[in-house]
């Protein structure tokens, strides 16, 4: 990227122009389009985490949907409870024959607990899971397969416990968040700006992290784990911390997505969606933070356009795109731009 800025004097301003456009979007877009953009930006937050672990850490996760789901279900639990009259339980529980709220739902009535859960639960699960695998020196394809199994197990668990999770249909029909009506005027714009702000914060934070010694070590462990180990470092904590950060970003992403989409369900977090998340980043460029955001936006935009016209075509198109990018553009769209400049 720096070489490009020398060739093109407009380059240093580009991020600021994009940021200004991003901030102004609610004044230019319809409520429907703004909501779509906000969803895609929320997904961009997850994509940033994949750049950290996959691009710079060499850790391919086919299970980011799990962490996305943990964040999404946490906020969904809260919203289901917030709109409930005193003493009642969510309607789907009644239909399943339950008479009381499961104990682990109860703390989600608190906004503070919910926010803490969104931030902490995916991070902790990510840290414990990746530590369990990495400290036994399992990596590469085996790790990817284990994460895929995790995604399958998680979505299966949710589907099988219909009475407490909403099952296959997931959780939907949300009316307010932290006392603000979701349908009230201005809420859409506000939630969009919140998402934009978090996306920018994650971008800046990861840029700093990747440039720090931590980032250098992560790349070093990706390229030569043994060399790093026999220089006196233990690579495991670096990989675990990176994975936990990516899990946290996925959790935040899932919570914001659920807010914008008004639904969370196993269909959004299982094996196939988890692979799609990797595809966004492969297409955008797995070494580039900006590329990953662009990838998440473009692929989801394309998905929205294609699948509304030809629903059955999308999977094939995405598969073809993935093959094309992996074989011909290993650095994704970001590599294309860099390649031109060089």
């Amino acid at each position: 990227m720096p070489d490009l800025s020398r060739l093109n004097p407009a380059k240093p301003f580009l991020p600021w122009v994009l940021l200004a456009l991003g901030i102004a979007a609610p004044f230019a877009l319809s409520a429907y389009d703004l909501n779509l953009l906000a969803r895609f930006m929320a997904m961009g937050i997850l994509a940033l985490g994949l750049v950290l672990i996959w691009g710079h850490g060499g850790i391919l996760s086919l299970g980011q949907g799990v962490f996305f789901g943990l964040g999404g279900y946490a906020i969904a639990l809260h919203m289901k409870l917030a709109d409930l009259p005193q003493g009642e339980i969510p309607d789907f529980m009644v239909w399943s024959g339950r008479e009381s709220l499961p104990f682990w739902w109860e703390p989600f009535a608190s906004p503070a607990f919910t926010i803490a859960a969104i931030l902490i639960v995916p991070t902790l699960v990510g840290a414990l899971f990746s530590w369990a695998v990495f400290h036994r020196r399992v990596g590469g394809t085996y790790f990817a397969l284990i994460t895929q199994a995790l995604a399958l197990a998680f979505s299966t668990l949710i589907i099988s416990r219909q009475d407490v999770t909403g099952g296959f249909n997931g959780l939907t029909d949300f009316y307010s968040i932290f006392g603000i009506g979701l349908a009230s005027p201005g809420t859409g714009s506000m939630l969009y700006w919140v998402t934009l702000a978090i996306l920018c914060a994650a971008f800046v934070g990861l840029r700093w992290l990747l440039a720090s010694r931590f980032g250098i070590l992560l790349r070093a462990a990706r390229d030569g784990e043994n060399r790093v180990r026999f220089l006196g470092y233990s690579p495991t904590p670096f990989k675990v911390v990176a994975f936990a950060i990516a899990a946290m970003l996925a959790g935040i992403s899932g919570a914001l997505f659920t807010l914008h989409a008004g639904v969370v369900s196993p269909a959004l977090i299982g094996v196939v969606p988890s692979i799609e998340m990797v595809v966004w980043v492969a297409i955008g460029g797995r070494y580039s933070l900006a590329g990953a955001i662009v990838g998440a936006l473009l692929v989801n935009l394309a998905r929205d356009a294609v699948s509304s016209a030809f629903p059955e075509l999308w999977l094939y198109l995405m598969g073809a795109l993935f093959i094309f990018v992996v074989t011909l553009l290993p650095r994704g769209l970001a590599g294309l731009i860099k390649g031109k400049a060089a």
Binding site: F214, A220, G232, Y233
Partner: protein, 252 residues
């Protein structure tokens, strides 16, 4: 005389056996290294030279025997603890980190505090910066400090890794075939580089290249089939009929 020899003892490999399900890569092998010494280990392929390095740095664990470094048994310590005690190894195939700059490679090696929670920053302490600059200078890579290590020529990669091993500040350097893939001029430079360390470090060199071994002018230990065979000057070893039979005979 014997008293000073004991206090000068840095490393002692004591009756070590490495058993790969029946195949003994090291078979009751023993050797000692004194502080400041340079020692060359030679032997035919499969003699157990690289396995010896693997054992000292904790990459493989002996089924029998002990590795004693500065009076402490280290054969059960985790790898990073062994490095922290002051042992670092250059691998046979260059193990530089290809996507990092030459300087970043050395910065990782020169770093004294290797705990992960101390890695959230970019600053490099003055003494480490100095060590990095010295390491660059010693292998003539100062002009190439900012290029990606993966783009270096093969010989330069070897030197960079030697410089990394030196920059860790380790007392004991294990150099596994440092001249592999080098031409005669590069080999001579490598010998000078190791000579330049003088007695400030203890160096264990493994190599096949007899001209390089002669240039090092260091005592030689000969291994054969995982066992100790002979020890002496290069001339002694060359003159030894047993060594000629198992090793030099093959190459002559």
């Amino acid at each position: 005389m014997s008293g000073s020899a004991v206090s000068d003892l840095l490393l002692s490999v004591d009756g070590v056996t490495i058993d790969y399900s029946g195949f003994k890569a090291l078979d009751n092998f023993s050797m000692t290294l004194n502080r400041g010494e340079t020692r060359v280990v030679i032997g035919p392929n499969g003699a157990g030279k690289s396995t010896l390095c693997d054992t000292i740095i904790g990459r493989v664990r002996p089924s029998e025997g002990r590795v004693i470094f500065k009076g402490e048994e280290i054969q059960r310590l985790p790898e990073q603890a062994i490095v922290a005690r002051g042992i670092c190894r250059k691998f046979q195939a260059p193990g530089v980190l290809p996507t990092l700059s030459v300087r970043d490679n050395l910065a990782l090696a020169a770093r004294r505090d290797r705990r992960w929670w101390k890695s959230f920053g970019t600053g490099i302490p003055a003494d480490e910066t100095l060590a990095i600059e010295e390491a660059l200078e010693s292998v003539g890579l100062t002009q190439r400090a900012t290029v990606e290590a993966g783009t270096l020529a093969h010989g330069e990669k070897q030197w960079l890794e030697i410089a990394m091993v030196m920059a860790t500040g380790a007392e004991l350097l294990l150099l596994d075939e440092p001249t592999a893939g080098m031409g005669p001029a590069e080999t001579s430079r490598t010998a000078q580089l190791i000579h330049g360390l003088g007695t400030s470090r203890t160096v264990l060199v493994i190599d096949h290249d007899m001209s390089f071994v002669e240039q090092l002018a260091a005592p030689v230990t000969v291994m054969h089939q995982g066992k100790f065979l002979k020890q002496g000057s290069i001339a002694d070893v060359r003159a030894d009929p047993e060594v000629a039979a198992v090793y030099l005979g093959h190459t002559a």
